[in-house]
Symmetry: C2
Subunit: 375 residues, 2 copies
């Protein structure tokens, strides 16, 4: 393809990474340009790119990330051959090590508090002091396009729980952060070291069964209400491609403890679209989040927990202050039972951000269709 | 060594698996016999044993597990050469995929409820209907002997949280179950398939910072209060070695839903000793647990979540009905601040069970010493 044809947010200022296989070929690392992919493994001959995940490449660190990004751009500008996306298969781009999900939108946390505790305080006492988070199931992180089988489990009822398929299947529109460089056990990662460890960003849908979750979650948190599937985009947008997207967060009150870096509270100006059966039902703005990506990373490791290549952490549901900016059907329907997903429904999350070239880049979309449970 | 010399619960009826390296050598799979190890990789020449974790071997399934166990026994009976444990280094035996921790002792859950909610119901409404559980951090599962660095984090205080080292560092004496054979996404694993998937059992200490946990855990569960370290034994006792240890559970009321197999509620008659600085401070009996190992597995997957080779799930703190059978310092001290761990304290968990040879086998111990946090 010619560079002049590139459209749709996948130009030379973006160049996200993914894992693909040509027909009959093995998985390898590629870079997306327009509606094509550059076989980076073949074009560079580098062994860490001829692998079925980005992990070996991500582990090499920021200097190699920068060199490789520059090399991919040079190859494309020089007219390197690319393959149309329609001729390849796309895969989960990373081997997920640990998956952590945060709860970093004050609008989402407040909405959920108002729906579930209408007579109590909307936010719990710890919420403004730390980014609340928990571990999810790494083994059920799936790539965009994977069918989502409606989960079964225990649903609350007046006479005790009943067993069956969830009746309140929901989405959570999130951003995911992918760790490239690990850290040592016992040594926290300071908030200023974000760019030394975080390789890139994915779109993320944290599918949630609200009925299962509501019954199971005390006192140890969500488990089966979330662990059946978490979808991520095929494409990982490198942090370098988001250089023009950093913005100040709306503000934090009270000022967080020093380890949470109150002087580096930068968020990302990423727009999200929630598309349900082809119709845009919400436009959550990531710039309205309360806790920053670097603060989540600093908190995750403040107790000495180590990072590994492939760790993934989600922002939690992105909801803005306005009703049309809510990132879950629980909030969009405000508890209305008919708002939840029916079998056959398809949800697509789309993301865009300012690019370094003056226009906008389109992060990888996250797509999933609901299937009824098997027999 | 001669078989006649075998003592201390590591005889021919046990033969647990581990990963070791001789001086200057690479990691490989071995079998413990007495105070020696049989280099199973060298003795059999099988490539899946010449690897730095048990995962490749575990993935081969129950028939291979049985054949390999019989082969190890034959080799030892025929006088195969072994290496003294003092001449080798032991490692984490498995590559942990996902780590889930349950809360399956009714005595522990009741004690915790009484300590934290003295005026409320000791058990929450869901507790007798499902094995409550949550995901922990797989990347910080460490082998016995790894120093435990006292975690820092946010501690609750009247005027808001303070940052510093945990003042309430605790243990949780548990049993861990290691998954050998994975399962398909979307397909639950029935309780009757326990032996098709679970390879073996490890000792497990779920180190816990009670002050960090108490502040952070609403509403999404424990996170940094647990994620700094979880210690497991070097040795994985195969399920086959526990054939004489199965016992009926004490009983479940109300009867669980059918997917939780109310007709197969077998527990394990494993005795635990909690040793603090050389002194036995508690003897929790695993046979007093409420939820069975097979029920925990069935619950973990009822929503269609898949299993992977290397998945690890813990029983939760093992506490019996008597005061001298409690598996955490929170319960042993009943909230007394002086009961928690001081820097330099060493905790050893020891486990024993009836062997198939008429005597007792000793499962791998779990050892850890508390270190002050670094600067």
């Amino acid at each position: 393809m010619r560079v002049a044809q590139m459209t749709d947010g996948f130009g030379l200022d973006h160049l996200p990474y993914g894992v693909f296989s040509p027909v009959g070929g093995t998985r390898r690392v590629g870079v997306r340009i327009g509606d094509d992919v550059l076989d980076l493994a073949a074009a560079t001959g580098r062994p860490e790119l001829a692998t079925p995940s980005l992990n070996a490449f991500m582990a090499l660190g920021p200097d190699v990330w920068a060199e490789t990004r520059a090399e991919a751009r040079r190859l494309l500008e020089a007219g390197a051959a690319t393959v149309p996306l329609r001729d390849v298969e796309l895969h989960l781009p990373i081997e997920v090590a640990d998956y952590v999900d945060f709860y970093a939108s004050i609008h989402h946390a407040t909405n959920v508090g108002r729906i579930f505790r209408p007579d109590g305080a909307a936010l719990l006492p710890n919420w403004r002091h730390l980014p609340v988070g928990y571990h999810g199931r790494a083994g059920t992180v799936v790539p965009s396009g994977t069918p989502i089988v409606r989960p079964r489990g225990q649903r609350p009822a007046a006479d005790g729980p009943t067993y069956g398929a969830s009746r309140r299947l929901d989405i959570e529109a999130e951003l995911g952060f992918v760790v490239g460089v690990g850290s040592q056990l016992g040594t926290p990662v300071p908030y200023g070291a974000f760019a030394d460890h975080v390789f890139g960003v994915v779109g993320l849908n944290d599918w949630s069964a609200r009925d299962i979750q509501a019954w199971e979650y005390v006192p140890l948190g969500p488990f089966l209400g979330k662990s059946f599937a978490t979808s991520v985009s095929h494409w990982v947008t490198p942090v370098a491609a988001l250089a023009a997207a950093w913005v100040e967060l709306p503000g934090q009150d009270p000022e967080p403890l020093p380890y949470l870096g109150p002087d580096l509270t930068r968020g990302l100006d990423i727009d999200v679209e929630v598309v349900l059966n082809g119709e845009v039902v919400s436009r959550p703005p990531y710039r309205t989040m309360y806790w920053s990506p670097a603060q989540m990373l600093a908190h995750l490791t403040v107790n000495g927990a180590s990072l590994r290549t492939g760790d993934l952490y989600g922002s939690g549901t992105i909801s803005g202050p306005e009703p049309e900016q809510r990132g879950s059907l629980l909030e969009i329907g405000w508890g209305d039972e008919s708002a939840y997903l029916a079998d056959g429904d398809e949800v697509v999350l789309r993301y865009s951000a300012p690019g370094t070239g003056g226009g906008r880049i389109a992060l990888g979309e996250v797509r999933g269709r609901v299937q009824p449970p098997g027999s």
